[in-house]
Amino acid sequence: MHNMEKYFDVSYIWNSLPILLPFLKVTFVVAGLSMIFGSFFGLILAMMKLGKSKIAQKLANFYITILRCTPSIVLLFLVYYGVPALADNFGLYLHDLNTAVFVVITFTLQFAAIMAEVIRSAYESIEKGQFEAAVSVGLSPFQAYRRIIFPQALVVALPNFGNGLIALLQEGSLAYTIGLIDIVGKANLIIAANYNTHALEIFIALALVYWILSILIEKFFGKLEKVFSKGKHTINTN
């Protein structure tokens, strides 16, 4: 039994948590920025897919297919090495840029592809008649979108958005590979400081943090869905 403790000591899990948790801030900032930029870019892609232009549709589909087939770690390194190399051609020197910037670019590109599909399917789930009815009672197209289409599409999109966010958070765990000191990066630093002993305990602590976060996000979006689908019932019953 004593021999076992040499390898595995549960106290390392609890003791590492207070050191790890402050670094969630970095994880959150990176994921948050990627979410904001990615949603915006995803909206543009969804509009391209839903629009009339065949070229725009093809372009958006091509982008989404490519991104779906690319492992996050490959995209991360492609951006990390490729963007500065590309910038060199324009006389820009980007090799000293903060690693967080490359991480945000990578996950913005990836999240946009996910969001494009989420937004498109949510939009298509709303009947065309809804928009026509809204316009026919005198709403401007913008008002019709804002007051009629958007609130309904939002309810459909919310669970998928939540899943996308969980995926974003998890894929973001790879940011340590290009040197970002987020929660995973810090975990690896702790392990290195322990001369690579008790790595398992630190990884378990890390897994627990991610697990709890994912459950919280899922619960939050479940609640949010309930709040926003309130309007749905009144429409149905009338």
Partner: protein
């Protein structure tokens, strides 16, 4: 870097990356072969609410979906050698755990995570098949096993196939993390080639291309199979 891409290296490394495909596919196929039946059985425990297994599957699925694969890899890669070395020590087996081929760890990790994903895929697919189908099959004299094999599974498979395709593509993508276990797959092979002359941009373009080709082919294959399976969909109508 500013002198542009090294095209000779780009082309040579493409083939080095390509030489990692068999390992990637081997890990993918083994993981699927283990995960498909296991995921299906555990999905049945969820649907039939088998007392202990039902809870086990729920926690298992929640854990895998809630944690990044890289951390699952870290945990397996840190714990399995520990457990094995204790085991070998106790029974005086003369095997050095560090001599074990990393592909075994890859099999464990990727079967572990894919099984959980497939439990959810099968659970939702099975729940789309009308309960009456099973009852009708039984009432005409089919055994439970026959009813599942001939009536329920073919219909559920049509629904499950697009999700199995997504799971397979995600699995192929996830094997790129095999570098953490020094698995000699696409990413690691090209990366090692790039280490010599710092041709990382070229190497990652190659890796990127290989994955796109591989995943597009897999998606195309699934589409063809889906078309063939579609005929089952109208049987129930």
């Amino acid at each position: 870097m500013s002198e542009g891409l090294n095209y000779t290296f780009l082309i040579d490394t493409f083939f080095i990356a390509l030489s990692g495909v068999p390992i990637t596919l081997l890990v993918t196929v083994v993981a699927l072969l283990i995960a498909l039946p296991l995921g299906f059985l555990l999905a049945l425990t969820r649907i039939n609410q088998v007392p202990v297994l039902n809870w086990f599957s729920r926690i298992y699925v929640s854990f895998v979906r809630g944690t990044p694969i890289i951390i699952q890899i870290f945990i397996v890669y840190a714990s399995v050698p520990l457990i094995l070395s204790l085991f070998f020590e106790r029974y005086n087996i003369n095997i050095n755990v560090y001599d074990i081929n990393p592909i075994w760890y890859a099999f464990i990790v990727f079967s572990f995570s894919t099984t959980a994903i497939l439990i959810e895929v099968f659970r939702s697919a099975l729940s789309t098949v009308n309960k009456g189908q099973l009852e009708a099959a039984q009432s005409v004299g089919l055994s439970n096993l026959q009813a599942y094999l001939r009536i329920v599974i073919p219909q559920a498979l049509v629904v499950a196939l697009p999700n199995i395709c997504t799971a397979t593509v995600n699995l192929i993508k996830a094997t790129s993390l095999g570098y953490a276990m020094s698995l000699q797959e696409i990413t690691l092979k090209a990366k090692v080639a790039a280490n010599v002359g710092y041709n990382y941009v070229e190497a990652y373009i190659d890796i990127f291309l290989v994955y796109i080709i591989l995943c597009s082919l897999v998606e195309y294959g699934f589409k063809l199979y889906e078309k063939r399976l579609r005929r089952y969909k109208y049987v129930s109508a």
